[in-house]
Subunit: 374 residues, 2 copies
DNA sequence: CCTGTTTGTGGTAGCGCTACCATGATGAGA
DNA sequence: TCTCATCATGGTAGCGCTACCACAAACAGG
């Protein structure tokens, strides 16, 4: 322990009683109150959207806020509000690109609302339960669960029973017993399939996602329904099982593209598998999109970093996770002491993003030559 | 409306008329002080690692902290500390996978230290300067700059002159005039090249990164030096220019793999281009790694989501950005009012990650048949 | 008219921590 | 011995905001 005499950098200002603590003159709630000619309390009420404020008072306050360019101090807010909300984000090996989007959304929102976020990886559902029990003991209030954890009712029940707030992000369907933020997986897959059909394809392959995730089934159903609605028969040989990983996508694509009568388009249940499909197609000297159309799902960063860039369904993962955090904060705030909170549910819009991996079937391809022939 | 008189038979002198605000009994600095039999101030000093605390007192405090499982309240801390530090993170189109790691590190650390983080995209250096001027006006104190922005001395000077704190993350070399967090790019490229040589390769191709970034040149130099040290001559036809994008990697790989006397190994300056090289190799029916070894740089998530997974240099991007945030916080804290701060510099360790995209040259390949022949 | 109830607003006391003194104890120098 | 610097520690006053209560004004019902 080096004794340091370098305290000399310190400056003993002995003059005035006490130096002002505030260095930068960012406006405070008091400044706004003065400007609006009311009390800080009233300003606080306006900021927090409380009921009992007269309309004209509210307008004056809003005007003052705008004029002073006031932004509430987060630290002060959460300090005054008392308890610091703590949320755990658990995950059990979703695809890496999905995860990074996922984390980003959560971190951003948690940072914005000054929420403490614990990120925890679990090997499987059993381990997740152990971890959750520990976190519950530690007093963590909120839990964010991506698939496949959010598809396990036991996990959800465990949290609910202990009085925690669970929000599923991107589950296949919402169970109603807990919070959820999701997109209409079925409809999205339906739309994409319809889009591919609209390009003129008839032999459309499909790569299923991880069977543990309910969403995988929903996407498959969307595909089936769209095919049926278009009067196209489904060749079960054109449906391959994947696991959402790149590697599994290669295997599935190999099967589909190697078939005697190969599809002219392949719709993979996520971008990782779609990217793998593109790679396999290239390996077989098939051009994407001219020989095979390949479409993905999720619109992770991978979709636009490979070439050709993938036509895919944009799932707003970041917003979804951010909303999940916000939802927990909201529910937590309104939750009665010791009581149970009413779960909310939120369905966000997806979007079909068209890039360069799809096209109409080429004449040659529609004759379905064996791969590799000139 | 409970009148005070009936609420309490306790204390007529206004003593305890208010309900406790704290709901959960998380230990506070006062609890620790009581346990350690000293004042809260002393505890605060220990927490903040200040000098003037006797060793035995410090130990008592640390013991109390451990015993109570005390964690300082972030909100209270930054509120009491006065100014909320604000940091801007600017970027000008680095690769997407790099960016996501980058953001993650910054967000995490900012969240931990309760720092307000502004994330801003800029089209080019000119726009960056405009943006920075605006942010400086807005009183943003810290600036985090990834390449290529951190390689532009004008940008750095602009911030320094205005009294801001700039930290470059991953610049080719540190200029000394500003903070920097980096790895030894030259040495890393040298090591990787040597690794490839060690596998038995002699014709080793190289794909250069975006020429705007100083690091690109450093990596090239590392390659050149390693080749020279091993007594291998460099065929300039085996060096191709890329831009760090997947697309540019495809073009470069096409050139290298299409050459009459193609390389048996290709070292790409980042993972995106390496992934593209793998794709191009597959397209030419070359197996990776048996026909061509392909190595990348950065170890972004892409490296391990394709197949085969890439042997690459792990650059700890997340830690680097986190360190950059911490560095700004540190420098800001010690900076004299209105004065200029002393820039710090930090070099982190890189790591060669060996995965499945490298192997010794095959007998066939070492004869360098034209591609495609049996 | 007196009692309640509702509504809008203000006052005050913290939330948990740290900046800034003040102070008593030690040691160094006169 | 008596200064005066230095150290180790304590006390106090906020940081900016919100929970909680108080209270006056406006209305309701008796």
């Amino acid at each position: 322990m080096t004794k340091q005499a370098e305290t000399l950098a310190h400056n003993p200002t002995q003059g005035r009683k006490r130096a002002a603590r505030r260095s930068n003159a960012a406006p405070t709630i008091t400044d706004v109150a003065r400007e609006a000619q009311c009390s800080p309390m009233t300003v606080s009420r306006v900021i927090n959207g409380e009921e009992n404020v007269r309309e004209d008072t509210k307008q004056k306050v809003l005007g003052a806020i705008a004029k002073l360019n006031y932004v509430p101090n987060r630290a002060a807010r959460s300090l005054a509000a008392g308890s610091q909300l703590r949320i755990a984000l658990l995950f059990d090996n979703p695809s890496a690109s999905y995860l990074s989007e996922f984390l980003m959304g959560a971190l951003e929102e948690a940072s914005r609302q000054d929420i403490y976020l614990v990120v925890q990886a679990c090997e499987n559902v059993a381990e997740a339960q152990k971890v959750i029990r520990k976190l519950l003991d530690g007093g963590i209030e909120g839990y964010i669960l991506p698939p496949p954890l959010c598809d396990d009712q036991n996990v959800l029940d465990l949290i609910r029973t202990a009085g925690g707030i669970a929000v599923a992000v991107g589950p296949g369907r919402a169970s109603g017993s807990h919070g959820a933020v999701l997109i209409d997986e079925f409809q999205a897959a339906y739309d994409m399939t319809k889009h591919i059909i609209g390009l003129g394809h008839e032999r459309i392959g499909f790569i299923i996602g991880n069977p543990e995730q309910v969403a995988s089934g929903q996407r498959l159903e969307g595909y089936r329904k769209a095919m049926g609605d278009a009067g196209l028969s489904i060749d079960e040989g054109l449906i391959a099982q994947g696991q959402f990983t790149y590697r599994s996508g290669m295997v599935a694509a190999e099967k589909l593209l190697g078939a005697a009568h190969r599809p002219t388009a392949i719709f993979a249940s996520n971008d990782d598998m779609a990217a793998a499909t593109v790679a396999m197609a290239h390996r077989r000297h098939l051009d994407v999109p001219n020989d095979v159309t390949v479409c993905g799902f999720d619109d992770t960063e991978l979709a636009s970093s490979i070439w050709p860039e993938l036509t895919t369904i944009r799932q707003p993962i970041r917003e979804m996770t951010a909303e999940a955090v916000a939802m927990i904060a909201r529910v937590h705030k309104h939750k009665p002491r010791g009581g149970r909170a009413k779960p909310e549910q939120l369905t966000l819009a997806y979007q079909l993003i068209r890039r360069n991996s799809d096209a109409g079937p080429s004449l040659a391809a529609s004759f379905s030559k064996p791969p590799g022939s000139p």
